[in-house]
């Protein structure tokens, strides 16, 4: 679970799915609503989130306290990342970096890469 002080003890994003991580990354530089999130993620990593996937992930992230909704702008509901969300994203990205480094090292040791 995420602590109220915004520090994450463990990598909570390991179990939330790739879509949720991509949404957090997209929200890291400012609030966005659904359509902009889909466009931004497509531009960022070339992955097109399905709208059904998007709303499922947004609800899950909100339940976890990692994002919060802002007042609606017409029909659109923007979301922003919370302090615990930013902390969880940092922990997850650090973890990915460690995995990546270990993988590259193993490839090097094996003489494959």
């Amino acid at each position: 679970m995420i602590r109220r002080d915004g520090r994450a003890g463990q990598d909570v994003l390991r179990r939330v799915g790739e879509a949720s991580v991509l949404i957090l990354i997209s929200l890291a530089d400012g609030p966005k609503h659904g359509y902009v999130l889909i466009q931004d993620i497509k531009e960022l990593v070339g992955v097109e989130l399905g709208p059904g996937t998007l709303y499922g992930a947004l609800d899950r992230l909100e339940r976890l306290g990692l994002i919060e909704p802002l007042p609606a702008d017409d029909r659109r509901h923007p979301y922003r990342i919370t302090a615990p969300g930013a902390a969880a994203l940092r922990v997850h990205l650090d973890s990915l970096e460690r995995v990546s480094a270990a993988g590259r090292l193993r490839l090097q040791l094996g003489g494959i890469g």
Partner: protein
Amino acid sequence: MNDPRTARLIDIVLRCYPARWRRRHGDEAGELAALLVRDGTPAGSIALSYLAGAAREWLAPRPGRPLTMVAGALLIVVCSLGVSAGLLGSAGPATAASTSQERGRAHCRPGSPGSVPDLIPDVIPAVGRPPLIIGEARHGRSC
């Protein structure tokens, strides 16, 4: 959405979500679908994505929704899919003919978990080949 058939398809699929979800996201989801269609995303893949999302919404355990109810809904969905697959597999042209006759009547009933598979024969023929769209996999990529 300019095409009324597309608008109707999206509307039907959005009605498959629980009322709580529709109150919260319904209007925005309809507008988002219209924007994606305008950008060139096939309506069929948008509908499929929403359909899968609706199934997940019904099947996900939530506070106040006991696990037995979720398991029951899952059982209904699996059985319905099995029966549908069996019918489709056993009667090819006859099924296609009856499906087209039934098309006008097929719809989702709000509040009914069993309504998701009811829609599937109505959606699949219009879908074509959806593009690569990421699903909500717990571990790794799912398309």
